[in-house]
């Protein structure tokens, strides 16, 4: 039973355009959501997070939107750059320092 789902295994976007990565979850106890970027042969790099008391969090080119009623979140990258090409993981936790539950990831390719 996959509690965090990233239904798009891959996404290609042109440089300068918006990248939108989606994530759905099933566990209504999740109240913190995190996005990570992963390059080959490296560990995941923390990008941005959001608490369930908010519906939007922005950090530079990265914005995360949370729709609790739909149990859906999305990561927007604007403008997309070739260096953004990586695998992006959505993760969630059900409060405190509970374990992170990850999706399977979406491979983003930004084409120059």
């Amino acid at each position: 039973d996959q509690q965090v789902k990233q239904n798009s295994p891959s996404l290609s976007v042109q440089e300068g355009r918006i990248s939108i990565l989606n994530c759905d979850y099933t566990n209504s106890m999740f109240d913190y959501f995190l996005w990570y970027k992963k390059y080959p042969a490296e560990g995941p790099t923390f990008l941005i997070s959001i608490s369930s008391i908010k519906d939007k969090n922005e950090d530079g080119r990265f914005t995360v939107f949370l729709n609790k009623s739909a149990k859906h979140l999305s990561l927007h990258i604007v403008p997309s750059q070739p260096g953004d090409s990586a695998v992006y993981f959505c993760a969630a936790r059900a409060g405190g320092n509970t374990p992170l539950v990850f999706g399977k990831g979406t491979r983003l390719s930004v084409i120059a």
């Binding site: 913190y32 042969a41 560990g43 320092n97 399977k104």
Partner: protein, 111 residues
């Protein structure tokens, strides 16, 4: 601040052997979690240590064990290695729910 560091970065072991992986958390972080990432999958939670105690455990067999030291560094031990244990092993440290920082991982290959 060196961030989360793991050692070794790669290793190859034979079926049936035992392995120990090491992790030093980010400065100021007291909680260390271990994850296994198989090819094409997201990281899967193995266990978490806080104040030198295993606080939570995922769905992994007893062959997987760990330890946390007073300086918050941690070890992951895997006994009786199986081919299916081949994966990237990730350590993460945190001090709040809204963040968790990962090391570069240890790539374990079991032959």
């Amino acid at each position: 601040d060196a961030g989360v560091t793991q050692s070794p970065t790669h290793l190859i072991k034979t079926r049936g052997q035992q392995v120990t992986l090491r992790c030093s958390p980010k400065s100021g972080h007291d909680t260390v979690s271990w994850y296994q990432q198989a090819l094409g999958q997201g990281p899967q939670f193995i266990f978490q240590y806080y104040e030198e105690e295993e606080r939570q455990r995922g769905n992994f067999p007893d062959r997987f064990s760990g330890h946390q030291f007073p300086n918050y560094s941690s070890e992951l031990n895997v006994n009786a290695l199986l081919l299916g244990d081949s994966a990237l092993y990730l350590c993460a440290s945190s001090s709040s729910p809204l963040e968790a920082f990962f090391g570069q991982g240890t790539r374990l290959t079991v032959v």
